[in-house]
């Protein structure tokens, strides 16, 4: 069975149902709208470029065993397997990867979300808070009081 998906910029993709169902959101929508398959499923937050990549990922992983429990993804317990294909897939620039994380998050494609988050974690892993802020243009919004508290905590909790 085929399912049609429509990106935020109006491009329509036709994919196998089991491929689309790697997205928890689409899977749930298909249950609700079983009878009404004449219209493509609109994905308001996902552009065509990203959607094509997400579909490419889902096509490759269509036969993976499904993991329902979020706990299973916790890398501290068990690192997720990354095959050569995944490694190849993640050779993209940071901007593209961040778009993919957003797409995976809004479509709830959990293995892809974890793949992207692992990529992001690898970037920030060895950076200082200042370096992280500079790279990602994040404002330091701590108040002076909070800064004091943090300094204090640091004193008592340093290794």
């Amino acid at each position: 069975m085929k399912v049609t998906l429509e990106s935020s910029d109006g491009q329509v993709f036709t994919v196998d149902k089991e491929v689309a169902e790697l997205s928890v959101i689409i899977k749930e929508m298909l249950v609700i709208e079983q009878a009404n398959q004449d219209h493509p499923i609109p994905l308001l937050n996902v552009g065509a470029v990203e959607l094509a990549k997400v579909i490419e990922y889902c096509e490759h992983h269509r036969n993976d065993p499904t993991i329902d429990d979020d706990e299973d993804y916790d890398s501290r317990k068990k690192p997720i397997e990354m095959d050569d294909w995944d490694k190849q897939f993640t050779i993209v620039n940071k901007e593209m990867m961040f778009e993919l994380i957003l797409a995976a998050n809004s479509m709830q494609v959990k293995p892809l979300l974890h793949l992207g988050c692992r990529y992001a974690a690898d970037i920030v892993k060895r950076m200082s808070p200042t370096e992280i802020r500079d790279l990602f243009q994040i404002d330091d919004d701590f108040t002076p009081e909070e800064q004091d508290k943090i300094e204090w905590e640091k004193q008592w909790t340093k290794l």
């Binding site: 988050c117 808070p129 802020r133 994040i138």
Partner: protein
């Protein structure tokens, strides 16, 4: 009119949570949680899961209220730099302590006082090496 700036994945708490599962607790504590308020908030469970390190026992009176507060959150306490050279067994329970090392007795006294206030029990006390300068002591206090 300007279009609203697109959210970065690093501004979405659920995504940050997933990213943090791929970072070590150490890295979250010393780097990620200090980036901004949102990251600090998302990192809170990791920060709290770590036992408090009590470094200046027992002569720092100022830390007592803070220590209590922290203990309520973590239910565990790590004490560093206990200055004594008396050997002790590796595992001891609070009831078997009859060592006359003053600082040791004082430590237990204080721990007992804190545990009474919060109705906690010293269930386990692990000594990682012979008690001497800079020994790490891990009393685990539970409800």
């Amino acid at each position: 009119m300007t279009t609203p700036r697109k959210l970065s994945p690093l501004e979405i708490p659920e995504v940050l949570e997933v990213i943090f599962t791929h970072l070590s607790p150490h890295s979250i504590r010393i780097h990620a949680s200090l980036v901004c308020r949102l990251w600090y908030r998302v990192a809170a469970p990791t920060r709290r899961s770590r036992p408090l390190v009590w470094q200046r026992y027992p002569d720092d009176a100022n830390m007592q209220p803070a220590l209590r507060k922290r203990l309520q959150e973590t239910k565990a306490l790590t004490i560093k730099r206990l200055k004594t050279l008396w050997p002790l067994p590796r595992h001891i329970s609070s009831t078997t302590i009859c060592d006359d090392t003053p600082s040791w007795v004082e430590l237990i006294k204080q721990l007992t006082a804190i545990s009474e206030v919060h109705q906690l029990q010293i269930t386990e006390l692990t000594i990682l090496q012979q008690l001497q300068r800079d020994t790490l002591v891990f009393p685990i206090l539970t409800i």
